[in-house]
Amino acid sequence: MTSAAQTDSVHPGKTFDVERIREQFPILASKPGGRPLVYLDNAATTQKPHAVLDTLSRYYASQNANIHRGVYQLSQDATQAYEDARAAIATFLHAAEPAEIIFTRNATEGINLVAQTFGRQQVGEGDEVVISTMEHHSNIVPWQMLCEEKRARLRVVPITDTGELMLDEFVALLGPRTKLVSLVHMSNSLGTVNPVRQLVELAHARDIPVLIDGSQAAYHMPVDVQAIGCDFYVVTGHKLYGPTGIGALYGQRRWLDAMPPYQGGGDMISSVTFERTTYNEVPHKFEAGTPHIAGAIGLGAAVNFISGVGFDAIASHERGLLEYGTLALSGVSGLRLIGTARDKASILSFVLEGVHAHDVGTIVDTEGVAIRTGHHCTQPVMDRYDVPATSRASLAMYNTTGEIDQLVAALRKVREVFG
């Protein structure tokens, strides 16, 4: 299928044109190793559009100054751009106000921030924190560390063979000692999209706050933190077509106001003497030191870019790709998909009978196709399916059915080599 045909068949009557989208990502026109890049590792990180690259370049070329400090114009402009980016992310996630958005390095830091402030405040000896089998290590280890420190207990919601959360088990785990639930919105190794609104309702019915890890979800589907009702939501910039080293934590204002600071330093204080320091208001209370100003502004440009394309178009295109890819991969002999939840998005995780994922990755790479192989920072998921590793193709707005065809052709090469 050509990309032109794809535009017609996947989006009848829609204006989404994947070639127009691709033109906005310069790396997709580059030819590493002398051939076009077939980039199918978007769950690890997404490529960056001109809108983001130009913003970064413009910031350093003509706006660079430290923020919240100088009285001179340039510093005020930089501060304005930084705060505009916060507002853009608040709009993107449908937060009630920009102050509910804290800039972090990534989603991992967002989770650690909550664990080290809210967690240390709320979780005590004998208390419980609930996560699930399908969590990324970044939503396991911070809670393990907290539980170890507080002599609390980490409880894990199991998943079904298709990769769905067991809701009955989830409800059964919620008890009087449960102080927090922390669950992924969309699994990075299975593609499962969890019913977050329902999960939050179930937890809130027992007065248990909920953190949702939106690292994967936020670039595939619209996120409305108020509609979901969650207490915290974390995203990472580099998976939102934005820069690395920047992410955001959404927190309900009432929690943020009550939480102690995360790190001490400049910008997070309102006054300092050697006897006593008073802390700044949210969100600045949680942003000690000079932040990644360029990254934040770049992330603002990234979410505006996504909104400009529109989630209706993105989701419809990616759904078409996922259906096409699911069908195409099922035609490869000995291939088994890992993660077949009813509600899933953009991720095709699989094992090839008799071939280790790393051999698949190397051979596919020689055919110019970039996929991820390994445990995807979800070792408990690998254990759950009793596989050492999987190969994973993860799709984004700029991918095409032609690229999936190239993946399938590359997988046939694997079969040729391994017989």
Binding site: H358, D359, I363, T373, H375, Q379, P388, F418
Partner: protein, 149 residues
């Protein structure tokens, strides 16, 4: 495809399909477990030593073709060698899979030379070397024990 065949040589594919010296080894003198967390490769190596000579060696575990074949060919390569000779072979093998400046293959490596292609795939060096590191761990641990007893 020609590049790929440099990496996945017939000998490697054969040892991946039917690894030699695969399975448990009773009464081993030295043992160690190796883990490559990035790939999920896991190997256990068990060695019998008599008068400083490797009299038997077997391995167990799971991994990619490169790591499995490397373990298999290593067990063949070190049987009958002294621990010192094994250590020398480790260094030669290490150079083979990492040193991209050397164009000729060390004749002392024998069959192990099939791994020469690995040096062009930096991400796979760890796979090829895992069995050897595990072996070294087994030998070092034991030698430490010996020296303290």
């Amino acid at each position: 495809m020609s590049d790929l065949r440099e990496l996945y040589q017939e000998v490697i594919l054969d040892h991946n399909r039917s690894p030699r010296n695969f399975g448990p080894l009773e009464d081993a003198d030295l043992r160690a477990d190796g883990h490559n967390p990035l790939c999920g490769d896991r190997l256990s190596i068990a060695v019998k030593v008599s008068d400083g000579v490797v009299t038997d060696v077997r391995f167990e575990g799971s991994g990619c073709a490169i790591s499995k074949a490397s373990a298999s060919l290593m067990t063949e390569g070190i049987k009958g060698k002294t621990l010192d000779e094994t250590e020398v072979l480790f260094d030669r093998f290490h150079r083979l899979v990492t040193d991209r400046t050397v164009s000729t293959v060390d004749p002392e490596l024998g069959k192990l030379a099939v791994f020469a292609g690995v040096r062009d795939y930096p991400a796979r060096v760890k796979c090829a070397i895992l069995a050897w590191h595990t072996l070294r761990a087994a030998m070092t641990e034991s030698q430490e024990k010996v020296s303290t007893e």
